[in-house]
């Protein structure tokens, strides 16, 4: 297929390695600290937003593509990127619009698919 010939395998390798390394950071946080998964997710999103706001994270995205955008740090960086872009277009108003606008797809999908999946799922009966 034409599409498979167009895949850049070096890019894929960088994506795999960087994505994996970001997950290792998360795993070390789980194993070495007493942080709950919820706090780890919050730390990742906030760190991503700060790195995105400082303009550092986009170098990682240029390097690793989805290896940087798929982890939650990428979600945070995307929020920050949206806010900055929208501020450039419409000033202070953009600070409130931009972030959510940029990640609206992900948020809406999470809410929608999350609700649907919960409806089809059967609650587990906990074994005593």
């Amino acid at each position: 297929m034409e599409f498979f010939q167009s895949i850049d395998w070096m890019q894929m390798l960088r994506c795999f390695v960087v994505g994996g390394l970001i997950c290792i950071i998360g795993q070390i946080l789980i194993d070495k600290t007493k942080l709950t998964p919820a706090r780890i997710l919050v730390i990742f999103v906030t760190t991503g937003a700060i790195l995105g706001g400082l303009g550092i994270y986009k170098y990682l995205i240029d390097f690793a593509g989805c290896g940087a955008t798929v982890p939650l740090t990428g979600f945070g960086a995307n929020l920050a990127k949206g806010a900055i872009q929208e501020v450039q277009n419409s000033g202070l108003l953009g600070a409130f619009i931009g972030g959510v606008k940029m990640s609206a797809g992900g948020i809406a999908a999470a809410v929608f698919f999350g609700y649907i999946a919960s409806l089809i799922a059967k609650p587990k009966i906990k074994k005593q």
Binding site: G19, G26, A110, G114
Partner: protein, 147 residues
């Protein structure tokens, strides 16, 4: 056995009793599962671009598809098995965000479809959105006045 009196003693006791999690093995599993999820995202992203979409739309589609798959797999109780094996490998990618919405929602289903499912969906995802969106607003404000 002498009673446990201080926090320190308790924490020593817990450390002694809880099994040492094999951190190297956990990290290895997190690495390849996390890398694989990102690679699936990359293939999707490349496919969207191949079909002529721009970068912003492509990465939105990647998020939507990965979140959708993770939500359905959580609903079918498959994702939790992957999560047990991969730890942060499935938690840190955006799939973990979807999982964190569906898991509590299923658990509280008995409390009803509005407050049970609709409300408890956000036990973990809520804080993530609060801190993520607040950070983006602060960054936007700083950018407006200082850059």
């Amino acid at each position: 056995m002498k009673p446990i009196e201080t926090k320190q003693e308790y924490s020593n006791y817990v450390d002694q009793k809880s099994p040492n999690s094999p951190i190297l093995k956990n990290c290895f599993n997190a690495f390849w599962v996390g890398g694989l999820i990102c690679s699936i995202g990359q293939i999707l992203f490349d496919f969207c671009k191949f079909k002529g979409l721009d970068e912003t739309s492509s990465s939105s589609i990647v998020s939507i598809v990965l979140i959708g798959i993770a939500a359905i797999l959580t609903g079918l109780n498959i994702f939790n098995k992957i999560g047990k094996f991969a730890g942060a490998g499935s938690l840190v990618p955006i799939t973990g965000f979807a999982n964190s919405i569906v898991s509590p929602a299923i658990e509280y289903k008995s409390e009803g479809y509005v407050m049970g499912v609709g409300g408890k969906m956000f036990t973990v995802a809520g804080p993530v959105l609060v801190f993520g969106i607040s950070a983006s607003v602060i960054i936007g404000i700083i950018y407006t006045f200082f850059v």
